[in-house]
Symmetry: D2
């Protein structure tokens, strides 16, 4: 007699394979779900493995298009960056994956979902808040927070033994545990790992590649690399684009960040495409947006980044902020030229039909419709408050 | 009969030399003032030039120490960056220079100050707000905003002719007009210029330099380059430090920015030392500051950067914010290791006696004083609001 | 030969009557424009007066509907309040008036607009920024900033003499100079004046009136007073509503505020209807909006109030913020019951089809779908950071 | 054999009396602690009751002075108000009470603390975060979150029966359960209750009382009521002050608020003294603070209010923000005159040796050191951006 059906976020790796078998042992019917968000993975092999381990159904879903369009683009529009450095490549994938998992759970009549995220990390939160928001009655099984599970599997050795005992194929060269965190945009590592996605800047080519990126309403429309048109940065042709970015070693960071649960943790990230897009978007945005609109939008972007990091993509506030940010991007159209070289992105120029940059107005040689005398009044009125402040302080000084 | 005494911010260049003579023509006694804030300049030659042009007195002041300690350090503490990209190397020098100019004006009994900043730029504002704040009764002569002046000197040619007529030495190879904007921290250019301070990343050495920077209360205490101790990044030994940073091509940006007066303008900046310090400070700060303190401080830093850019260093709000930011840095002590290579700064590691990073707490292998079950409650309570929102939307959907 | 045509914002009072004649003297053709925004005024008399003084054309425009719908409603949605106290009743009328003035100027081919606002106040800025934003080529004649004018009319006596000389009817009992600042929403006074719009709370009735206000998307839909339906708070039936609010003495404040030009000034305001709407809207908003959406919207509202106060209604940032705030109000539907008594508004209750208030969820007697144990985890995870902070401080204490 | 010692926050009421006995049943030694923060309570009776129920030790602590000086004053300085309406009278008492409870626990060697707060409210969080922050190793027993307890005591009837069985005196007229929420500043109610602290405005006296409140660095120094000096608003003479405030019915609100755990709940609050102080402080602050300092401080105050509401008084960020706010108040000195009448506070005037209000500067009759022409330049420069925006939109319109 089954306890019910669980949809398990399955990576094909050791951890979630063990969880699959353990859930069956516990009396659940298990459906596995593996999202293709651009990571390098042998999806067929993963499917066969899940089936051989007793999954009742196996879903392999290509989410790349929706991942880019519904999740990455809004993040680029927002210039989303956490604590001034992290481009949120892992965070942005979580709601995309969990949404589909919930769709499968509803469609298959499953009351349970499960995942292999640890009990100290951010991903458990991102995953589960999405699930609760989209399927409030769902029950979540998080084995790494269940004492019977985590006390049984204290180290990797315990998982290996369990795997051997239950016929779970054990990786010969143990695949790095970060595998679930790789996607189209980014890869994250345990500190001990080597960088995997990007070339070392030292080994990168000795001449730059020149790109042109075109934006429409703050969203990347197309990319030209050394003049050849690449439609859609994350389209099927994306591989080309990524190879180029990867070979220049762009987007590597080694940081300490603050998790939502209140710990500091070290993270090593490679975000080649995201880094280039961040810089290009920033440039075209400053070029086309009014100063004060941008300032307000910047504040909203900081909030958006926190929501995204903390797992609140599917919250009323995040929906509201995404709407506002999208509205702010209406005039963010244009092209940015940049070069990529030895780990760095250099903006070379930009052009836009909607630019507020007025060469004549700003020129030192042309007065145009600008009267320099006005600046005197502007400065003097701005000084009224400062002079009053000084006057008062002077009075106080003279009294004491 | 003199109209009074003017203290003129004098650069030694063509513009301010013409202004010097013009002010004399207009009937003023002129005292020139030239600040040494680390720019490459032949100060003796400038002194002689001013004297030969009839300056009543000539002040050449070495402000390097106070520039670093009172202006650059607070900016580094604040992670001051304007519109996400510009490290404010010009902005931060203005109040330092204008403060001394005001001190000279008071000491010499001058009622006037003058400068050569244009009528469309930010520098006029930074300069004059400082003057009004510190010497509210001062009168400011800004020739580039006086019709008699700017209508007479429409182009460079007019200045050259005036110079020849009045015995002002004319530069053979015309020195770039940015000369006043170079300082210890940074250089800014007109777009047409070549980069001058830093090497091109393409021509930079093929192997990185490794630095260690030590911070105390968010302020840079010392720098070690390849193990040799360099006391004080901007001290007499600064040259060494700068050469190393410069030869790696760090800190070049080409941006469009929003001026205070409401125009967009293009700026080319080189900020080698400032860029390295920005990254190093950011790293040690995230390592040592509590998450929420940092978040509040980050918001204050954004405000500080705007004040700095707009010229409000000597305002009550900027004094207040500097105090708050300084307070936030009490625990920002430690060392950051980084490598500098081909235009990029890579953080290699950090250490601190005051770190909140707790390796045991964050470890996946050690539960320590952390109960993973708590995370379930944390997530479920965070989901209360999201589920209510969904419930309400569901009700509405079912009604329509 | 005319210098051109000026559209003058004309109040019918002494000041703008003198300005009308003075502009003619200066060689302009003058068109007067008087907006009806709900102030008590004899518009016919004003029209005749302007004609008799030589206005080429006289426009009297009833802007009450657009004033309410396009300006007051967005301000109520925003909970717009300046420096925590001032409900912006004067500020919100300015862009409405100036917009129509600009429409008239364009339609009549006038290159000039003029107004009687003083050179130290906010209204000149609100007025002129609207004009420049909507008609960038317009030329503005602000007599109180023109030395020939303000040096000639140093005091009221000079105006009176000028009036007598030019056949301008002089008020016998001098009408208070605040007349232009009265409108549907509010009245503002010079400090010396008596309150005019509202009854003194001491003289107010000894029993409260009970109102019910209905909102739809954050906008006031209708008002019921003691059960009789009043459609539209500012509609023709508004008089009734206002009389009731006025007779209870609601909305009087005596404050010192910070003007945009940097001075502090004292203001006495009466805003009966605006005060009631502010409280009613705040109540229904908190009832229906998600907590975090409201928090973000609150921040936007603070910014909106500053823009409104400073005259930036027609700016890209204000348009953006109005859009965002309007979006936030999508679910702000419902009814608020309140009583008005002796100068105070008391919320009695509220109801809404879109409320997130869930009596069962919050009840202490019903657990419902809420597990109190989750709160333990929530609290302990929130404490992780606090305990780490304490641990570190303890270590430091033990070392010293 | 005892399980250990618990320090129980004891109110003397039915709930915590039952908890006392239940803890003993569970095998703990119980120390009770009752804080005097100004609530009306028979402390002697409470002491005897606790002793008779088997408390090992009974602490009755008069915290009124520290409550006012260390908790209420900083809140007044901050203008702390939650969601624009709630003056945080309950929130601000919690860290004060919990701090002493922790001191007692440490001093008595108790490893446990306990309280009677429910599992859905804010107080459990405020209480426990303080405990964890100040005593990270403490163990907390929250019976209303322990299934064995809350499943046994489902309704009030179960508590009554338990009380009878264990000789706990049962109140004849059941005392309202809000008793713990009354303090010097405020009282909070269950919605069904009557207002208890303040008179109904309808029954309030028909003539106002006039007060003068003196501030020093943003803190209330003394109060004069109808000319008689009352030293310290919360000092022993506080009763007089409170009676006066209470008899005018000031500070009643009926609101729906957002709890930290994500629910909306209705609250009825009476905050007579706090409301008067809020308005008086706001007035003197706007009078004496620079506009921009106040704006930044206002943002910090909003954050402070959230921290206070959510229970983060003893957090690094709240300590930081309190420091900053205190710094901002350095010049907030002066006296405010106000009248209290029928539920409302009217500011009558204010004076300060540190005011930035400059009557001459703001006067319309005196130009003083102010040149109205400067305002033209100020406005025109502010319009540069708006005109550019319009120009661009015009271009776009003309193209389409």
């Amino acid at each position: 007699m089954s306890k019910g059906t669980v949809v398990l976020a399955y990576s094909g790796g050791l951890d979630t394979s063990c969880i699959l078998v353990w859930l069956k042992e516990e009396g659940y019917d298990v459906i596995t779900f593996l999202a293709n968000i651009g990571q390098e993975e042998d999806f067929d092999a993963a499917k066969k493995k899940a089936e051989s381990l007793g999954a009742k159904k196996v879903f392999i879903e290509d989410l790349r298009a929706e991942f880019v369009e519904e999740f990455i683009w809004p993040s680029v529009q927002a210039s989303a960056i956490y604590e001034d450095r992290y481009l949120l490549g892992t965070s942005v994938a979580r709601p995309c994956i969990a949404r589909r998992q919930i769709q499968i759970a509803r469609q298959e009549g499953a009351q349970y979902v499960s995942h292999g995220a640890t009990g100290k990390g951010n991903d458990q939160i991102r995953f589960e808040l999405t699930c609760y928001a989209l399927y409030p009655e769902v029950k979540i099984i998080a084995p790494w927070r269940i004492p019977e599970f985590y006390n049984r599997f204290v180290g990797r050795k315990d998982l290996m033994e369990y795997a051997k005992k239950h016929g779970i194929p054990v990786p010969v060269t143990p695949k790095a545990p970060w595998s679930m965190d790789a996607n189209l945009m980014h890869i994250s590592h345990a500190p001990a790992d080597l960088y995997l996605m990007t070339k070392s800047p030292e080994d990168a080519p000795n001449s730059p590649d020149v790109l042109e990126i075109e934006f429409k309403k703050g969203v990347c429309l197309s990319v030209y690399i050394s003049s050849s048109h690449v439609v859609g940065l994350f389209s099927p042709l994306v591989q080309l684009g990524f190879m180029i970015q990867r070979r220049h070693g762009v987007g590597r960071i080694d940081i300490v960040e603050n998790r939502f649960i209140g710990m500091k943790s070290r993270g090593i990230y490679e975000t080649p495409g995201g880094t280039i897009l961040y810089h290009a978007h920033l440039d075209i945005e400053t070029f086309t947006l009014d100063r004060e609109v941008r300032r307000i939008k910047q504040g909203l972007g900081v909030k958006f980044a926190e929501m995204l990091y903390n797992g609140f993509w599917y919250s009323p506030e995040c929906e509201f902020v995404r709407h506002c940010i999208d509205k702010s991007q209406e005039s963010v159209d244009g092209k940015v030229q940049l070069s990529v070289f030895k780990g760095q992105v250099y903006i070379l120029g930009r052009e836009s039909p909607k630019s507020l940059y007025n060469e004549e107005l700003v020129s030192m040689d042309v007065q145009g419709d600008y009267d320099p005398c006005d600046a005197s009044g502007f400065i003097k009125i701005n000084a009224v408050r400062l002079r009053e402040h000084h006057r008062l302080q002077g009075e106080h000084r003279s009294k004491h």
